[in-house]
Symmetry: C2
Subunit: 423 residues, 2 copies
């Protein structure tokens, strides 16, 4: 084993989740306990913090506050959406990065994010290799979209899925309690992959869910949709629909961006999201129904009060494994999950995938997990998803309100002489 001593930087990138901080906690605690890691630094707002030299000294945080990160939503270190250029065209950012790494004696870089972040991670890893600066680079997955390639599932997805399923059950009860006609349309996040939207099917499995579910994996046809809604409404006087924000027509045009025109059955011009747009169209078709659009928006990705403990523990473990593997000599990898079913029990193993392999690839819901009509979800998805959402949240409360982590975020000073120092 090549024993590499130096500081580590942990960063978060992209949209947050309910348990992304659990991964950061796993990485921080493991790094603080590792004799090879001399200082544990947090990047303020992901890669931007590294570029600007805004690094927190995480060794100065109160361990009790750190522990609360396991059930604190959003990205505690701050996040960013920043696309690194191709270093062959412009390597300014990479040079700045290397400069920071040298100044702080950074030999380990852990990046916690989704698709784009794994691409960033991959580029940085390759650049460091090319530069001859020894730095081990590891990706820690997260995304409510569940669309990272090569992993059974992604940390953050299950908690969002639980939020969507629970909320759908509650809304189903609410939307059906009047004796008047009612159509309710819920819009769920997920631009290209419908995993999170599919999780609404868990609500139906549990006895109170949507009548119709539309994912971006199947081309959306407005006429078929309206016929679907009309036929369920005709039979029951109610209809609960869940749609992915990313549904698109056969030409790939997002329905949310479709031109609205009062003459083409697409309703009147309006701003607002997809659910509002579909609601307006349904109103034009079913005069007797009250039509309501619900967009849970940020609530679905930050709902730590409904987090799956399975998800939180797996997220923690992903961070821990990234650090452990790097210290043991691994680099240029992303931590991924592999599922095993032992005597009917779900077991989650970790594995390492090359960053090259996962960067810029996307995993979608298999077509056979969606029903033939493209408006519902098959049992195979339930079997896949149900084990992931288990375990009540471990969110701490004080006076019945969440007690989330409060970090000091002390800025770290560079090790000008390149010597190693901890905490």
């Amino acid at each position: 084993m090549n024993e590499l001593k130096g500081a580590c930087v942990i960063g978060q990138s992209g949209g947050p989740t309910a348990v992304i901080n659990a991964s950061v906690l796993g990485a921080i605690q493991t790094a603080l306990n590792s004799p090879q890691i001399t200082r544990v630094l947090g990047a303020a707002n992901g890669i931007k913090g590294v570029l600007n030299g805004n690094l927190y000294d995480l060794g100065k945080e109160d361990p009790v506050e750190l522990e609360l990160l396991k059930f604190t939503p959003s990205s505690a270190l701050g996040t960013c959406r920043y696309k690194m250029k191709d270093p062959a065209i412009d390597d300014c950012d990479y040079a700045a990065l290397l400069d920071t790494f040298k100044k702080y004696d950074v030999r380990y870089f852990f990046y916690n994010g989704g698709n784009d972040s794994m691409d960033t991670c991959n580029k940085i890893s390759k650049y460091m290799q090319k530069s001859g600066y020894e730095c081990r680079v590891m990706g820690i997955p997260k995304t409510i979209d569940n669309d990272l390639f090569g992993t059974d599932h992604c940390p953050g997805f299950a908690s969002a899925a639980k939020y969507i399923a629970t909320s759908c059950m509650e809304v189903k009860h609410d939307a059906c309690c009047y004796d008047t006609g009612m159509v309710t349309i819920i819009e769920v996040m997920g631009r290209n992959a419908g995993w999170l939207t599919a999780s609404a099917a868990l609500a139906s499995y549990a006895g109170a869910g949507p009548d119709l579910i539309y994912l971006p994996e199947v081309d959306f046809c407005m006429d078929t949709f309206l016929n679907d809604v009309e036929s369920i409404y005709a039979a029951t006087g109610k209809c609960l629909v869940v749609v992915s924000e990313g549904i698109h027509d056969a030409d790939g045009n997002f329905i949310s961006e479709a031109k609205t025109n009062s003459n083409d059955g697409f309703g009147h011009a309006q701003l607002g999201g997809l659910a509002n747009k579909l609601a307006e169209i349904v109103r034009g078709r079913i005069a007797s129904a009250k039509v309501r659009a619900i967009e849970p928006s940020l609530l679905q990705r930050c709902g730590t009060h409904l987090a799956s403990t399975t998800d939180a523990l797996e997220a923690y473990n992903a961070g821990k494994v990234a650090v452990t593997a790097a210290v043991e000599g691994e680099t240029d990898k992303m931590v991924a999950f592999e599922r095993e079913t032992i005597y009917g029990q779900y077991v989650c193993h970790t594995k390492l995938l090359s960053l090259e392999y996962v960067a810029n690839a996307e995993r979608k819901v298999p077509r056979e997990w969606i029903n033939a009509a493209g408006n519902g979800i098959e049992m195979a998805f339930i079997d896949y998803c149900l084990p992931l959402i288990q375990g009540e949240t471990g969110m701490k409360t004080v006076q019945a309100l969440p007690r989330f982590a409060r970090l000091k975020k002390v800025l770290a000073k560079p090790c000008c002489d390149g010597s190693t120092c901890k905490g």
Copy 2:
């Protein structure tokens, strides 16, 4: 004590809450145990079920399923929005009601609802008295709006308040994790009273809440609002605003219904809710900010997974007290709550108020509980609200998903001969 024997009807009316079924459970279980109550009937969709003779025989329900009502959202018996006419002008409905009461030998009527329902309750009570048909009529309060007159607070409010406070804390974390400018506007239910909107201040009290809160109790001025947002945004690069759907200008015009005009600073014409409208206006003013509108919609009133157990138990008790009091001879009353603080501990007592007294009256947030600028909430409200939201939800889950009550809803047959029969 006048011992009155006969059936009882329990009905639900108006918008549901996360714990309205706890009240129904309290009434059902108490009625089933009362020797004077010969049959426990549930009105399908409130007063409409009584008018149409759609009454469920609740004695035929599985007691285990009934027990689950304590943490089942929405109105399990079905609800309605139906305004009874003034009987002096048109007493058709009242005559139909009396007819049903006679057919089913109904001597007790319990109506679980808000302002309008207490008005219905009052009218029915007075009509029965005038007709000489002995029937004891009791109102059981509920409303997330918390605006019923004469009671310290209303069942259902606290659970919705806990949902809003928790969600605001989570959204605050999410909305502040990027290093880019961000304004987030959350729209909360409450047309005339701002209690639920004010509950967002609990989030600030717990360390992560809105910067600005606007209630309908204070006239809303668009210019002042924009200045408020701009000044917080200038200082921090972020701004989280919570607004009541019922905010209105000094002339009483709802802002949500304000004409939009691209020339008057009110943004462009659009459909959608108040939050979307305000977001569009803020976008026009602060070009550098990403502005997001969030409308939790039904989620806020059916979020039983975040129900306050204090609220659920008080809701249960309201139903129980209504039945007990009626059996003991009371009529024409609504159950209300009175707060006592004993050695710093919150204690909730029940009392009975005449329906006449509570019908058509509305209770608003005291002006002194809102800050002078009209954009924030004072500590007096926190002291008022905090005890109400205590206690984790008792919602039962199976495989990590809610297990809500499933009622059989067997239609009851009339007692044609007027004889009394139970179950």
